[in-house]
Amino acid sequence: MAARLPAEILRIHISETDRLHGKPLYEAIVARCRELQIAGATVFRGLEGFGEQAELHKHPIVVTVVDTAENIARLIPELAGMIDTGMMARSTVRMVRVRKSA
């Protein structure tokens, strides 16, 4: 089965050292996405980067989320409250979901 849908991709740029309630922020973000029943989230670790204040991020992290525009809109305010310093970028995508084994 392959469903073709318009969707949005949200990329959240944070640091690996960012923490929320004692655990890594990216783990908290993924957990929140699951609670909100977002279709999926993937965390990537970068090698190096820099942010708005030109401070060097030794351990940049990008969390990538793909879901419908409504779900992304629902997710953004939730994450905004969790992130102290960071950046979120959303763009529209065409999504092909493949699921043969289910």
Partner: protein, 243 residues
């Protein structure tokens, strides 16, 4: 210049000692093809054979007389082949010329200058960005799926693909991908990102879709600012064709 795709293959059967003016015919044919800029030709001497004269030529009989069959093969575009065929028709007075449609799967030149005709001509172009989300442990015919996808994309002459390994994630399968210190086999999330023209991304997406068991493909618009060909030597020619 020969590129991947439809082409014509010409096979010429002649005799080793067939003359053309004062030189052996096979030499004359090969020289002619090279002068005409045919992308490549091979002449092979046969072990044995017979032709329309119904005489079997074998090494035992013909070695001294140099009367064994010679086969010349070359592959080029239909236009090139049409260009050289009339002359070949005149040259081969005793033998056979055969033409067939063929498909060039790969035509690689090592260490030569890249042909501008097949250069990636993308300056500030509208392009598509394709992302494929799969698991590191997903397999395709006993090899890692992400490797198989990259290989397939290479075969399709896609400009480039990058495989990223995530450190955490969940998705289509619902289970969490997480790196564990104690697990030898791991199934971390993997993302492949590809940028190319809308047409090529469309073809690539279809090909990848057939290879996925579970997974997600997303396509978005992208503006390509600059694409440099991956060969290092065109930096030398000032990047004229590279931008």
């Amino acid at each position: 210049m020969l590129t991947k795709g439809p082409a014509r293959k010409v096979t010429i059967f002649i005799n080793e000692d067939a003359p053309h003016q004062l030189t052996p015919l096979h030499d004359a044919v090969m020289t002619f093809l090279m002068r005409k800029g045919i992308s490549g030709a091979t002449a092979t001497k046969a072990f044995s054979g017979f032709g329309s004269h119904q005489v079997l030529h074998t090494p035992a009989v013909e070695a001294l007389a140099q009367h064994l069959p010679v086969r010349i093969e070359f592959i080029d575009t239909a236009e090139k082949v049409d260009d050289v065929l009339p002359t070949l028709y005149e040259m081969v007075s005793d033998g056979l010329i055969e033409v067939q449609d063929t498909t060039v799967v790969k035509h690689a030149r090592k260490g030569s200058k890249p042909d501008p005709a097949v250069a990636h001509q993308r300056r500030d172009a509208h392009a598509k960005l394709l992302r494929v989300f799969i698991g590191e442990a997903d397999r395709w015919h006993d090899e890692p799926l992400y490797e198989a996808i990259v290989q397939r994309l290479r075969m399709m002459d896609i400009a480039g693909a990058t495989v990223y390994r995530g450190i955490l994630g969940y998705g289509a399968k619902g289970h969490e991908h997480k790196q564990s210190f104690f697990h030898v086999s791991r199934d971390l999330p993997v993302m492949i990102s590809v940028v190319d023209t809308p047409e090529k991304i469309g073809v690539a997406a279809e090909a990848i879709e057939t290879m996925l068991e579970d997974g997600l493909i997303v396509i978005s618009d992208a503006e390509v600012v600059r694409l440099v060909r991956s060969h290092s030597q065109e930096n030398a020619d000032g990047g004229k064709t590279a931008r």
